[in-house]
Structure formats: structure tokens, C-alpha cells
Assembly symmetry: D2
Homo-oligomer: 350 residues x 4
């Protein structure tokens, strides 16, 4: 983390969650960003080290309440707040402040869909039209000009990077997509829930949010754009005994005489020049541990034994490319910096 | 483990693998069985305790080579040998010996299918016609009269108990079945492979055997019987950072106007009187940890958001109902004992 | 679980914790016990299955509040309540009810020591003199005649079975004992704490309660009896990323010219006839997984490279021999049953 | 990884082990190092990605056999070879090549001690006198001038950083030191051993190498220097179900009237200006997860309840500060670069 006058001064809202902590991890090593504000209502007044000992020893500001934040110290805020609370806070920010939001509050363009899935009317509908969906590889230009970027959910990032090229290209039947997702427990956050106690997660797996997970409409929103019409997907997540990582196994029906090889070629072409998205060599099984701690996404294509079907796999670290890393990637774009700045860490294995 | 004259004397072939060890675990607490022989070629001459310390302190025979086995001591042998090697050993056994085979050698009725998936001609084709497929809940009568029972694979057990009632009843489109499976690492056995080292499994997940796993034809064999015609299924297993347990998330298209509730009713009816198979209460997410260490199977049905689709889940312990427990269940039947004898252990959670 | 008239009718107080659940697991397979009452204040009115799905399918009474308990249905209650709350509840029970208490409330004989370590005066001091310390292997006769048995803590059980013979025999310097303990997370219970969330435990280890853990005075109480004088021990526990199991590595200085072999001989002699305590063969490293799910204890002795020092190891399952299993063992004694009844399960590995 | 003419060209010998892979992870993000050679005999001819998929997408040379290495491409080699094999390879290297050795081959200064613990005479005794023990914080000047640096073992690094100041300062009784160590499984390497299979490690803990681990004489060598006389320590490591990390709980007797606070002060003073070694705030329990993936070391001091005793804790990532990270730290010194270059990554939690 540099310290010069033209550093980007970043405020981290919601620094006491796993997403916030991972953002701080990335920013303390970012050569052009400087953390000047960190909020955490429940822990206000404490040093970050007392909440996250692994972040001790860095020259970080103490945690404050949102209402005590001095926005003059910031050029941009990155929000890692629980959904629902973010809207009003962002609406009240000085207009000159840029915002990268890691919550779900500004991802859905349709306010009715938002209300249906989140259980209340949107509280900042006037801001929503300005929000750019922050899937970097698809909205790069808009993001570079945006004031407010709504960073995608972790599952949508993994699903869309895998499916947009093949749905958009008409290579698969967009009405027959099954996404079986497996996620590490950090995705559930640091708040206290019986379901995320060690003994309730270790040595086991179970589905959750079946046919009711809020990332489904987000996936559908973007796939519908690509398909040119509304569509639904099956999306079934599972909770895994691991800290980080997400793997999506996606079952598709090939369209228009296309083959699994065509899907492979389409993904290879689409991501040939992308720094963070990579198609795995044929036959190599992608694993979450191949991307752990990095901003990388790994994709794979398999031919099924059933004629005209294929199996697609994508994997990423839910806290990095699925959240904080993509936020930094977008922040780089918003400030005209090289997109990969501060995101060069190779995956941590084992 | 009793010790009276009319105990069933059991020989365990392949006692040094995880499956063999779990069989021994069950048999030492079985009130009517007595282990009189244990083979393990590589460890011949050793006490079981030196290979599996958790089985020390029981009055077990030392390990011997198969060729040194004294068959006169046994009424039945249970085979936990690697597939391929089992056929010739079983073919050479005295005819009076009953056999419960936990390997894959006698599961496939079609010898061509066997040769295609296992890479060599079957070495005991004369025995195959006498082998009964040991899915207890479906072949109970045949098993009780059989000399040779081919216990199903772990994945087929989980898949078939879930799907046979709905495929057999014509409730789902038998040509559109996607099975996404997640398994603990004990399923890969105790032999040395880089892929099952702790650091290659912990904190991660990856698919394996995609479109090529040998349990696929086994699932298809039995589902084809139920459907009355040949069919193929998608079957995609994943390796999980847990010791035991298997969870199958199965995606089906409803047929003939049926609803998810009809599937639920069919499963409830079919298993109402089964001691080990249970339909979970509506809305409860089945987890592998709900069945760990027990012979239980837990099933669940979810309605999908996509019209005419449903999500079915089954879970079992791959080493128990998926292998050794089902072998004991069958052994009980083969000797006219109550089917649940020695299998009363409740699941171990946490 | 039988159902005849002379079954022992057991009330389980605090059935919604891990300890309570493990007690239920053992009792449903116990041939002479029958659960007739289960309390769980927060979950009153629910079936056990909704709190612990792995215990679904058993014929269990619904959960009730303690104040709604019908004591007429019980011959004995086993308490798995949080310490502090147990005293008054037990004091108010009908006198004819026997009690096996798994909490810490009646373990310390000295009421001042209790007040010092638990932060309040004891609330049932009149009952304390009647309480028998339930370390089965050492207080067997007293337990068989007791009305109230205070089952030992998990760490004290592991420490005392290892150290009592060598301290009592004067084989080691009782003033130089260092106990480094490692425990699975189930020992911390099912209540919500940030420190037992999956992500705070997995892939790591840390010490806790250093020089302040309440099991220290309990260990010291019993070792002082054996030594014939007051003593202090170092006891340092660590939280481990595993569900169950406890391993104590204990560093001792040999006394009176004794050798590590003498320690070995003393342990072998002391436990030769004990059904649940076993000295490991020389050189075999005891692991928590060797005892998982069972009532077994495994001990080991190593000679140190430093002259006159030895390293002692003990391991047990904190929920079984460290809690519910020992409670059942004591309950058997209290009702004149064979001590091992319902505890015959072999360890579950892997 | 830069690419300019004055980059340091690094050869990685033994790139197919976990240590080698972690070195590559660090070097690909190092601004002044460039990997020009990677050897791995068993995998010669393959791209690194086929051995470690997480390192795909970097511009790395293919793996070659050691005998096919072109040393002209290198300014320095870092050796991650198995001990015993390293000596002859290093002895045969061109003299102008600098060497940072991560094996145990040149750590012990006394050749008799080496022969006793490693089972054979040293094969390059002529080189040994030139080897500098690479504990950076203590041999900084020598390392900066050295041709051959013997990087310390992971356990010795954790033990010595904790104990050298207090032993050297006469604050503790150097003859009464007990080190109870817990390590993640990556420390055992990637070679195939039954003991490091997932199912043999997960959900458990056990001691290993009791009173016989080869890191003991290495710890003793350096502590003896600090104490000014030969001494022995108890060192007992345990294998943990985690990938990375090491935690040492060390039990000491205070000397010369010193208190735990004096130990605290001594550590604080000694490491005040060290970039990677940090004393934790009083009362904060150090955890391996606080340093995961980083070159950090975290220390802590606790007063014991037993008079005149204290408990010291240190933790590090065995693959980073315990191996590859310290090698990079030394490499920076050897080439006159800032010591922290390429090691700025914050710990990865969760």
C-alpha cells in the first residue's frame, strides 16, 4: 500500500465481515490504494486487529460507525454491508464519492423482481438506473465510467462467465440449464447462525436455498439479456466443509447441432485475452483449490455420454473474484488503473 | 459378537481396505456373526490392530493370504477385494460357501457391458447368472435364497433407492435424468494415490470420472428394468473433503402431468415399511451427516421453479448402506435372520 | 431400545445440545433403557428430529420445558444442562429419582474452589456431599450405590485415566506435570459463538483458556487425592478442526529412579481388566480417530531423549467416554446392569 | 514477475513438491526474480500446469531433469529436493551459482550429528563450513555474503524465533524446555504415504516422531549457541487435519527471578523492527490461520498458574516462513534487495 498524494483513498464499509476483511487483505498490498476509513458498527472504536488478528501489523485506521465516517477522507467507498441496509447509506453519500457495492442491493434492474426476492420495496430506486452491473469481463466500458458499480454475487459471477458465451452464441438450449453449485462456508458470512457452526458443516454436505436462492434471478437477468428473451434456470447450491471456493457443475443441452467442442472453442475464444478467466486444458478437472485466494476463474467443458448434452464447470474463490477481488478489479477500472493492479497473487495451494 | 455353536462364521476377504474395516466394525457388534477368517495379502501374518488400530482389543483372527485361507472355518465369505481379482477367487470357493460380494464383479448382468466398462472379459461368466443384485429393498426374496449376492455400488444404491419408484411409476421422464453426486474420500479406498492425499482433497472439491464412471452402467441397468426399456443417465460424481457420506442431487423432468408432490407420495408409500430408508420431512435439507456411520438412507423431494421439473436428493454413508452395511443386511437375509440385526447403530453426529 | 415393563425409564435434561444428542444416540440402541422424557427449553414442543435430523425415525417423546416435565415417567435423569443451571433443577427433583449429571456442577468437592472457578456460590451445597465423582474406573463401588453421580469433564477423564496410576504409584514427580490437550469442536457445544463458526476453526489450531480452564482444578482435585497432597498441573487446551475427539500429550519427570517402562507396566497392570481402557502396543501412535464414536480410551507411553523424562498420551471421544458414554456406563452401574451394556459400538474409522 | 535484463534468474530444483510449488507461487509475483529453470525428475518434459494446475497460465519453463539443467540460465538455484540427494547435486554446481537450500542437508554444523540423525555420512562435508544457517533474523549479515544458505526447518524456525531471545537472555531454564508442536499435513510432502491420505488425517490428531524427529538436533544446535553450552529439548510434533500452518506451544521454567512479563518484554524488544515477526497483543490467542499464506510469525507469552512457569506460543506457515518464504527472504538478502520484496502478501483468512 503506497502513501503518496495521488493514492486512491478507499473507505471500506462493513469491514468486520469476511468480505470486508478480504478486501482489506487485497488493498493493503495494492500499490495505488490506501485505506482511509473502515466502518463496523458493532466493533466501532476497535483496531482491526482485535476483530481480525491476521490483519494486525498494518497501518490501518480504527473501526468507526457509519454515521461517524468522515467522507472527506475518501475518493471511493467499497460496501460490504448486509443487503437491504446498503441502499440508504449509499443514497446519502456525497455525490463526488464513487461506490463499488459488494451487496446485492443494486444488482437487479427490475425493481419488482427486487421486491419479490428481497421482501421489501427498494429504498433507493432513483440510484438504480445509474448502477452498472460489475461483471468486469462484460461491462468493462460502463464500469470505467460509472459512479456506482453493483458487483455481482459470487454464484452469478461463476455462472455467467461460464454460460454467457454459450447462451449468447445460441450453442445451448437456454431453457434447459441446470446449475449444481457447491460453496465454501465463508459465503455465509461471519454472523452467528447454528448452520455455520463448525460441527454443522464439517464432514458433510447438504443443499440449501433449493429453488429459492436470491442469486437465481441475478443469473437469469444476465442470461436473459444474452438470450434475448426471458428465461429461468435451475440453481441449486450446496454448503461445503471448506472455507473458500465455489464450483459450479452445469448441465446443458446442445442446440442447433453444436458439439461440446464448439462450446470449448467459444469459451477459448471469448476469454483468450482475459487476465483472470482461463479455460482448463482438456481433461483436467477444475478444483476450487486451483483458484484459492486469487482472482482467477477456471472453466472446463466435458462431453456427456447422453447425445447432445454437455457438462460445464467453473470455479472461483467466492471471496475474491466472487466478491472483493472483482470489486478491486472494478475499482481499478473506475480510476483508470491497470485492471490487474493488486490482484497478481497466485492461488494458494495447498 | 457371540460365540455359540450356531453363530454364522464369516470370512472377510480384503480386510485391509476401508470397506473391509467397516464390515469388521459392524460384525464385531453383530449378535449372531463371528469372524473366523480375515485375508489381506499385503499384510498377511499381522494382527488387524497393526493395520487398523481402532479395531484393536477385539478377539479377531490374524490376517492371512487368500491362498492360505481355511474355508472349513466359514459359512459365508464377504468380499471386499478390488474388482477384477474377485471373480477368480469366488469361482474357486467351495460350493457350500455363501458369498456376499462388495466388489463390482458380479453387478452387471450383461457381459459385454462388463467388458466395455472394466476393460477385460469377465473371468467367471458361468457364475454371473446365479448372482443376485443385492439392492436389498428390491431383491429381498432372491437374496434370501441366493448363494452369491452382488452388493450394489455406493452411488447406485443412493441413486436407485431414490429413482426406482419414480421411474418405475412413470412419474418422470426417464430420458432426462441428471445425477450430480458428492462423495467422501473413503470411497476412493486406502490404496496410495496422489489424488487422495490430504492436501489434494481438503479445502476443495472437484468433479471426477465425468461421463466415464463405472457406476453409470449399473444405475442404468436397474433403471432400464424399471422403465421397461434401455436408458442413459447423466452421472457426475465429485470428490469431497469428508471421510464418509454421499449426497446425490438429482434433476428430473416430471412426466404425464405429475407434480413434485406425486413424487413425494410415491417415495413415502414405497418406503413406509422399510427400516433403513426414510423420506425427510418436507423442507428439511438432507445432509450426509444425518446418516453417518449408520445403514440409513434419507430422501427428499423439492419442487423446482422451472415448471414441470423437480429436484430429488438422497444421502447415505458410502461405507455402510453403500457397502458393508448393505452386505450385512443381505447376509442377515441369506441366513434367515432379522434384516436389521447388527445394524441398529444410530447415526453419529456431530 | 427395549420396551418391556422393567426397562429403565430415562429422562434426558438438555437434549438439544451435542452431549444430549449423543446420549440419545447411545440410549436408542441400549437394550434396557427407554427414553421417556426429553427437555430443551428453547425447542419445547418440537420433535427431536427437527432439532437433530439424524435422530429422526426413532420413537422418541417430543421436547418439553423442564418445568413441564412429568418426573413420574422416569427412574433416572441424565443432565446435559449448562453448568450453573443444573444445581437448582437437581435440588428440586423428587428424591426417588437417580441422577447422572454431565455438567460441572457437582464435580468439585471444595465449595470454595467451585466459587472461585465458576464465579458464584454453589446453589445446592447440601447435595454436594452425596455426589459421587463418576470416573467409573476409580469410583465403581460408590457409583453403584449413588443417587447422584457427577460425571467427570472430558479433559479430566482423559488426564486422570492416564495419570492416576503413575502419580498414585509415585512414579513421576507430581509437581512437574504439563498437559497439552487438543480437542474437537463439539466440546464447545452448540450454542452460538463466533469462535466456533466453521471458518474460525477449519484449517487452523489455537490455544484457549490458557492457565484458566475450569477442568484444571478438577484434574488437580483427583491427582491430589492420589498424591496425598495438594498439587497444581499445567493444563493447556487447543481447539482443533475436527468434530470429536481429544488427545492429551503429557510431559512428566520420572521419580525415584523409575523408567518409562515402569510407567508402561503400571498402566498395563492397572487397566488389564478394564473393558474400555487400553494401553496401545509399543510404538503405535494413538490418534483420536482410533476411538471416535466409542467409549474407548487409548493410552501410550514414550521415553523422552532427555534423561528421566517421559511422554504420556491419552485419547478418547469427548462426547462418549468424555461425557455421554461414561454417563451410560455409570447408569448401568447405578441399576445393577453389566457396565458395558449399550456401549459395545466399535470406533468409527474413517 | 518482471522480465528485464537485470532480473535475478532463479532455478528451482525439485519443483514438483509442495515446497517447490509454494516457492514458484511467491516467485511469479516477485518484482525482481524470474524463474528460468525448474527441475522435477519424475515429471520431466511436462508443463508445470500438469503437475500443479493452480500454477497454469504463468509463463513458466517446462520441467526438466536435474542432469538436463542448463545452469547458464541461472544466477541462483533454490533447492527443494529431498534431503540426502541435495548434497551431491549442490557439490556439482558451478561455483558462480548461489544456492538457497530448503532441504536439511546443510543445516547441522556437526557432521557426526548429521550422520547420527540422517543415517549416513555427509556427502559434501567440504561445502558444509561455507553454509550459513538461514534463520534470517539472526544471521542476516552472513546470509547477505553467503554463497550457500541452509534454510532452517519449519519447526526450528518457529521454535528458535520464540526461544532464542529468552534462552540467550538467561530468562528461562534452558534444561527444562518442552515444545509441543502441531503441524498441517503439507509438511509431510506430496510423496505417497498411507499416513497422509485424507482419511488418515481428517477428523483426528496424533503425535509422530516422538523423541526422534530430525528437527530436534537443529533446534538444539542453535539454542546451544544461545545458551553457551549444549542442551537438549523435548520436541513432540503432532499431525493436524489442515493443509498449512504450524503452532508450537512451549512450556518453560523461569530463571533468575524473571517473570512472564520479562519474557514478553524481551520478545517485544528483540522483534520491534522485524518486518515479519510480531508479538501478539496480550491475551490474543495466536492461531495458524492468522499467518496462513504469509511470511509472518506470531508470538505470544502466557503466565502459568504454576509459580515460575510460563507458556510461550509461536505460529507460522510451514510452507512460507517455514520454507519457501524464508528462502525468498534470504535470496533477497543474497542479491542486495529489500528483504521483504515479493513477500508482502497479507495472510489469507478465512
Amino acid at each position: 500500500m503506497g502513501n503518496t498524494q495521488d493514492d486512491i483513498r478507499v473507505g471500506v464499509l462493513g469491514a468486520s465481515g469476511y468480505t470486508g476483511a478480504d478486501l482489506v487483505r487485497l488493498l493493503v498490498a495494492h500499490p495505488r490504494a490506501r485505506i482511509t476509513l473502515m466502518t463496523a458498527d458493532r466493533h466501532a472504536g476497535k483496531p482491526m486487529e482485535s476483530v481480525f488478528p491476521h490483519l494486525g501489523g498494518y497501518d490501518l485506521p480504527d473501526l468507526v460507525k457509519v454515521e461517524d465516517a468522515d467522507w472527506d477522507d475518501c475518493d471511493v467507498v467499497v460496501c460490504g454491508l448486509p443487503h437491504g441496509t446498503t441502499q440508504e447509506i449509499i443514497a446519502a453519500l456525497p455525490e463526488r464519492l464513487k461506490v463499488a457495492d459488494m451487496s446485492a442491493d443494486f444488482r437487479l434492474r427490475n425493481m419488482d423482481t427486487y421486491a419479490e426476492w428481497y421482501g421489501h420495496e427498494h429504498r433507493a430506486p432513483a440510484l438504480q438506473p445509474d448502477a452498472v452491473y460489475g461483471l468486469t469481463e462484460y461491462y468493462r466500458d460502463d464500469i470505467s465510467k460509472a459512479r456506482l458499480v453493483a458487483c455481482p454475487g459470487c454464484y452469478p459471477t461463476a455462472a455467467l462467465l461460464l454460460l454467457l458465451p454459450v447462451v449468447g452464441g445460441g450453442l445451448v438450449d437456454a431453457d434447459d440449464i441446470v446449475i449444481d453449485a457447491k460453496s465454501g462456508t465463508s459465503g455465509a458470512g461471519r454472523s452467528l447462525k447454528e448452520g455455520t457452526l463448525f460441527c454443522e458443516v464439517a464432514e458433510g454436505i447438504h443443499p440449501y436455498g433449493v429453488a429459492s436462492h436470491r442469486h437465481a434471478p441475478e443469473i437469469e437477468q444476465e442470461l436473459s439479456v444474452a438470450a434475448g428473451r426471458d428465461l429461468l434456470v435451475n440453481f441449486t447450491p450446496h454448503l461445503m466443509p471448506m472455507n473458500r471456493g465455489e464450483l459450479l457443475t452445469t448441465y446443458v443441452r446442445l442446440a442447433n447441432g453444436h458439439t461440446a467442442n464448439d462450446l470449448r472453442a467459444a469459451l477459448a475464444a471469448r476469454y483468450a485475452d482475459e487476465p483472470f478467466v482461463r479455460l482448463a486444458p482438456q481433461g483436467m478437472a477444475p478444483a476450487t483449490r486451483h483458484v484459492r485466494g486469487s482472482n482467477h476463474v477456471l472453466l472446463q467443458v466435458y462431453e456427456d455420454r447422453i447425445p447432445n448434452r454437455a457438462i460445464l464447470v467453473s470455479t472461483l474463490d467466492n471471496l475474491v473474484k466472487g466478491s472483493s477481488g472483482q470489486a478491486v478489479q472494478n475499482l481499478n477500472l473506475m480510476f483508470g488503473l491497470p485492471e490487474t493492479l493488486g490482484l497478481e497473487q497466485a492461488p494458494l495451494f495447498p
